[in-house]
Every structure is written in C-alpha cells, then in structure tokens.
C-alpha cells in the first residue's frame, strides 16, 4: 500500500472525527444553512479542477477540467451567497425589538 494512502487515511479519519464533533454542536435551527455551507466548502474540489484544466494536457482532460471548474465554482459562489442570505434572516426576539 502506498505511503501517501496511509497518510491520507490518517487525515481522513481525524477530519471525520473533527467533523462529527463540530457538526453535532450545530443547532438544528441551522441545519439547512449547514448543508449549504458544507456544500460550498466541499466545492474546494475546484482547486483540483483548476490544475487539471490549467495543465492543458489533452483536449479531453481540458474539457473535463473546465466543466469541473465551472460546476464546482458555481457551488462555491452559490453556496456562500445562499448561506449568508439565510443566516441574515435569523433574528432573535430581543435584537428585533431594539
């Protein structure tokens, strides 16, 4: 088994635990924004897509990479925009009266 695989597996397992602990604490009020926010964070695959498209190796990989860049970047932008729109709407009774 390649050494890279093992170190990635460590990272994956630890990140999974961190994710579990952090997400458990997210208020159920905010589960919809949670999903749109993790969607935007997951769109970080755009960095891999940029490299595939930007390396310009074969026509096929450029096309695949370019589609991947557009698809994931739209998730990133759209995910942050809608999460912020939703969170702006959550007001507590106290802050509303002031």
């Amino acid at each position: 088994m390649p050494a890279d695989f093992i170190s990635n597996l460590y990272v994956f397992i630890l990140a999974g635990f961190v994710g579990f602990e952090v997400i458990k604490r997210v208020s159920p009020l905010l589960h919809t924004p949670l999903m749109s926010l993790t969607n935007a964070l997951d769109a970080i695959v755009v960095v891999a897509a940029i490299i595939i498209a930007g390396r310009h190796e074969t026509r096929l990989t450029v096309v695949l990479g370019a589609i991947a860049v557009a698809a994931s970047f739209s998730n990133m932008v759209g995910g942050f925009v809608i999460t912020d729109r939703m969170l702006r709407m959550f007001k507590s009774g106290r802050s509303k009266q002031s």
């Binding site: 994710g19 952090v22 997951d42 769109a43 960095v47 490299i51 695949l64 942050f80 809608i82 959550f90």
Partner: protein, 462 residues
C-alpha cells in the same frame, strides 16, 4: 522564488484554508455567530483558489478563468433562489459537486504519461462510481423537488433486484479494471452504468422521504470529494470531503430517526403505497369544525398557543400571514411558540428558514423534543399544513405504517385546531385520528386565507 519554496507557500495556504473550514462549521453552532462562519469559509476558499492559480503547473489560464467566470455566473443566481426552492437548489448543488468530482477522476484516468497502478485504479474507479451515481441521483431528486418529475414513488416488480444488479455490474467492471487498468474500453462503460444506477436509486423514493435522500446524497457528494483527495494526494480535499461527508451522514441519521426508518428502508422501501386504498373503507366519523371568528375568540382567550407548521403552510404561501397572527396574538399577551418537527419541510431545518424569512424570531422556534413536554399545559395547538407528524396513531396504533415515528404530542393540548383544505389524507396516505378527537376543531380552508381571516377578527374589525 524556486519551485520548492513556492510549493511550501501553496501548502501553507491550503493548511490555513482547512483551519478556516473547521472554524467555519464551529461558528455555526449558534445563530448569533453563524455569519462569521460564512466569512471564515469564504476567506479559506478564496485563499485556496488564489494559491492554486499560482501553481506552476497551471499554464492555460484561458481554460481556467473562463470556466470560473461561467461558474460564478451560474452560482450567483442559484444563490438567490426563493427560500421554498432551497431544497431543489441544494440537490442541484450536490449534483454539481458530484459531477465535478467525477469529471476530475475521469480526467485522472486518461491523463498521465504512465499508466495508473492497480491501487490507483481502485481508488479512481470507486471515486468515479460514487461521483457518477450521486450526480444522476441528485438530478432526479432536484427534479422531484421542483415537481418536474412525479413526487409519488415510482415502483415496479423486481425493482430492487434490477437496481442491485446494475450496481453489481458497475462494481464488477471496476474490479475488471483493477485487474487490468489498461483495459480502457471498460472505463466509459463503468461510468455509464454508475450513472444509470443513480437514476434507479432515487426514482422509487417518494416526496416524504426527500429530507433523508438529500442528506444521504450530501454525504455521498462529500465522500466522493474525499476519495478524490486520495486519488490526487490532496489533503485539503480529504479534509473538506470528510467534513461534508460526515455532516451529510449525521443529518441522514437524524432524519431517519425522525421518521423511525432505517437507511435500507428509505432506499428500498417505497413508502406509502399500500395505505391509500384502505383509507376509503373507513366508516364516516364526526368531526367538529369552526369558522375564523370562533377560532379567533378561542385563540385570544388562550394563555399559551403552540403553532405547528408543516410544508402545506409553505405551499399555501401562508408564512407571512402566520407572522401577522403571531404579532396579533403576542400583542394581546398570548405566549406563542412554534413546534418544529425535524422533518417539517423538504430538507433538514427547512421550516426554520421559512419562518425566519417571515421574520419570526428564532427563539420562538422550538424543537420537537423540547416542546413535547409542554403540550399538556398548552391551551391551543394550531396546526397549519402539517399532518403525519401530528398523528397520534404513531404512538398507539401498532398497525399504522408510521407506528413508532416520533411525533408532536399536539393531542395533549386543551384545544387542537387544524387548518386543512379537506379531509384527504397526508403525504404518506394515512388517516389521522387526531381529527376525530373531542377537543379538535377543524378549520377548513386555504391556510393563507384562513389565517388572514383570523388575523382580521383579532384586529377587532378596524
């Protein structure tokens, strides 16, 4: 700057991004700090993207910048959709995320001067299968939520056998590729078979199960990104994918518990098929109904009112009228709270967003477990557009298909009022004994108009 130095800076940018991502989710623990979470996520993502543009491997900027502009051009309008459309937007974004993970995996198979090793082949095959099935599955889910496709489960005899054989075929092709990675003909076939499996997986699932399906697809999309991180040896992808995957997984578990179902039951169960026919055979039972004037006088005489909103309220676009009702009652000194069932709405937490949009303060939105104990001290429980989540048969009737599902104990309130168009059964096609109880008053009509009429009555006619 030499290449090794540059690579170090890029790695530091990615590490900073990962830290900001974890903080971003951490800030989401409370509505008060949640917007900081978006900011942290944005800074982290921007850092990672900008750093990548400096990667010396990236030379063809045309093929990067144009898609980035297109992506932003698609993303902004998708971020501006109406709040009722958030579930289908989310499903669509799972599809986009999975599409991009699959595309990169496919490119990684065809790229490269040396052929992939067997180990890499296994990683790529698994990643591409999950990405592809999540792509088509999420498109089907988005289509159902947008009501382009039928909401009812579409089932046929032997369905599970067909679906599982298609999955088996995809996995068999993956194994064949691992045995001989140079067998390039098999690769596109495997992709197509995985795409077909995604369609077969989600088509039989009905509208009531959408919150679970969306969460599961979220989890798949995350894990496909994490697997891509393994393929590319990119830790930032592994971490982001693991965070997204575990988030989707936790939400799926919460949704399954809220419906008292197992994963396999949701994926292979096709809910609500049998019951619809049985409902007509029941004897006619008496229900009591009331008009807006009577409802208004009962509500204004109450001390504590709990409103139970369901997706029917959103369909009738009644949120803003409900807010007026909340204001009118609060002004009269009535304590009004909202009881939120975990599966109210079309995705986890959806009902909270819809009510927050109508300017109802979030400290009035109470989760099921917290509010259930308060129903015996509640004067009026007002149900608007919710049905199955209030059905006492889930507690008492072992033969009911929803037996064991946690419900809001509205039947323990002194008076129950239900705004409903008619006596038709709910999403799952199950009759609701709540409507025949002595303390229940049915308020027949359109939710928006009926609530509006109550508000006018409470206004005292001026």
């Amino acid at each position: 700057m030499n290449a090794a130095d540059l690579q170090q800076y890029l790695d530091f940018a990615y590490i900073a991004a990962v830290v900001l991502f974890v903080l971003s989710l951490r800030f989401l623990s409370s509505p008060a700090t949640a917007r900081w979470g978006v900011l942290a996520g944005e800074v982290g993502a921007a850092l990672a993207v900008i750093a990548t543009l400096f990667n010396p491997e990236v030379t063809a900027y045309r093929w990067v910048l144009i898609p980035l502009i297109i992506g932003a051009g698609v993303g902004v309008p998708l971020g501006m959709v109406h709040m009722t459309a958030v579930p289908q937007r989310t499903a669509l974004s799972h599809a986009f995320g999975a599409l991009s993970a699959a595309m990169i995996g496919i490119a990684e198979y065809y790229v490269g001067t040396e052929p992939v090793t067997r180990f890499q082949m296994g990683e790529i095959a698994l990643e591409v299968i999950i990405g592809s099935l999540t792509f088509t599955g999420s498109l089907i889910a988005a289509g159902k939520l947008q009501e382009i496709l039928p909401q009812r489960p579409i089932v046929y005899r032997g369905q599970n056998i067909v679906s599982l054989s298609v999955l088996g075929a995809a996995l068999a092709l993956a194994v064949a590729l691992v045995v001989n990675p140079a067998n390039t003909i098999l690769f596109p076939i495997m992709v197509v078979v995985a795409l077909i499996f995604g369609i077969l997986l989600v088509t039989p699932i009905g509208g009531a199960d959408m919150p679970t399906v969306i969460s599961l697809l979220n989890s798949y999309a995350g894990f496909s990104a994490a697997l891509l991180g393994f393929v590319l040896n990119s830790k930032v992808l592994v971490v982001a994918g693991a965070l997204d995957g575990s988030s989707g997984f936790i939400l799926s578990v919460i949704m399954c518990k809220a419906m008292n179902r197992s994963f396999t039951n949701v994926m292979f169960g096709a809910f609500g098929q049998v019951q619809t026919a049985a409902a007509g055979a029941k004897e006619e039972r008496v229900v009591r109904s009331a008009n807006p004037e009577e409802a208004a006088s009962i509500l204004s005489a109450a001390n504590k009112v709990v409103i139970v909103p369901g997706y029917g309220m959103a369909v009738a676009q009644a949120q803003h009228k409900v807010r007026e009702l909340y204001d009118a009652l609060t002004k009269k000194g009535v304590d009004v709270r909202f009881a939120i069932h975990p599966v109210a709405g079309r995705m986890p937490g959806h009902m909270n967003v819809l009510l927050a949009e109508a300017d109802i303060p979030y400290d009035r939105l109470i989760e099921m477990e917290e509010i259930n104990g308060d129903f015996p001290q509640t004067d009026v429980a007002l149900i608007i557009g919710a049905n199955d989540v209030t059905n006492p048969a889930a507690r008492t009737d072992q033969s009911s298909p929803i037996f064991g599902m946690p419900i809001l104990d509205v039947d323990k309130a002194h008076t129950v009022m239900v705004i409903k168009r008619g006596m038709s059964p709910g999403f799952a096609g199950i009759d609701n004994p709540l409507y025949y109880l002595n303390q229940t008053l049915m308020l027949f009509g359109d939710a928006k108009q009926f609530v509006g009429a109550i508000v006018r009555e409470l206004g005292g006619g001026h």
